[in-house]
Symmetry: C2
Subunit: 190 residues, 2 copies
């Protein structure tokens, strides 16, 4: 019998593609086995269990996102950088909805520690060097930006903004204008 040469990496990539096609919550070990035309049990030599598969897809998505973010920030500053980073998240979610959902997957503490989550925070911090913020306001701003990016993308993908004018592209631009204005004019602690 010809061997397929499965590896955790190949399974993870295929799982990520499957997630983009059918949704992250419908990624199943069985479906993956079907796609490789092998028996389900064979995958358990490469994956601990289905949770393990989902975790690996999540980590892959976080890495890809961090890579894109690093790329987008290179050579940019201020509002230019803000827009670029924001668009990384939005575009990634549109191109890879399943992977984006995976990136939101609740990781266990061990997996979270080894994830690219730290890189994301560092890049947002780098972005903020273009604005005049010192600690602890810088941390507050990192968290605010993360919230807006994630929240906006989630709601937009979930259809939360659909069927209502004005269109979401215009709102997106104006939200970035507003965030830029806010960062340039961050309120002093009361």
């Amino acid at each position: 019998m010809a061997r397929v040469r499965l590896t955790p990496e190949r399974l993870t990539r295929a799982g990520a593609e499957l997630a983009d096609e059918v949704g992250f919550d419908r990624v199943t070990v069985s479906e993956l086995a079907r796609r490789f035309d092998v028996k389900v049990a064979s995958l358990y030599s490469h994956l601990r269990n289905s949770q393990d598969l989902r975790t690996r897809i999540a980590l892959l998505a976080l890495e890809e996102l961090a890579d894109r973010a690093a790329d987008a920030l290179a050579g940019r500053a201020g509002k230019d950088a803000l827009t670029a980073l924001a668009n990384v998240y939005r575009d990634y979610a549109r191109e890879h909805p399943g992977r984006y959902a995976a990136a939101q997957f609740r990781l266990g503490p061990e997996a979270a520690a080894g994830s690219a989550g730290v890189r994301h925070a560092q890049m947002t911090r780098a972005l903020l060097r273009g604005y005049d913020l010192t600690e602890p306001d810088q941390t507050h701003a990192v968290r605010l930006l993360g919230s807006v990016f994630h929240g906006y993308v989630s709601l937009e993908m979930g259809g939360g903004f659909s069927h209502s004018a004005p269109d979401t592209q215009e709102t997106w631009s104006r939200v970035l204008d507003a965030l830029d204005a806010l960062l340039r004019n961050w309120p002093a602690t009361p």
Copy 2:
């Protein structure tokens, strides 16, 4: 055999409690049947399928959230109202993590139309009457606030802010300060 008097409503409420205990994605028709001490198949007289159950839990959560929001906004304006509404989302997510996850559940178009989603948007609009925004900026602001509330709560619950100073309560306060400042000083369209 003594009848248990199941109804879709009772099942939905029990499902919501189950979600808070074990997580929304682990809500299962089988577990629900176990809790009512009836056979699994019996539930299918009251629920179309397990998707139907999840949808009902999501709609329940959206209603509860909208009720709390309406309550919180009554008699408040300006930053007071902003803080109250924001805390409704955050507190609900902390008290009822499973229900809050359910409220993020991707509804089909039919279910979404009949959901309390519209009420949420209307209440955010009501909040904005305390600030000086006209269309289309008002809509942009509605979407921004929704993004921040949802994004912040999701990230905080997902552990995204953990293990790093300053604590999330302080960030939350400062984020609300920043949003209030932004709404009072919304940038003109470039």
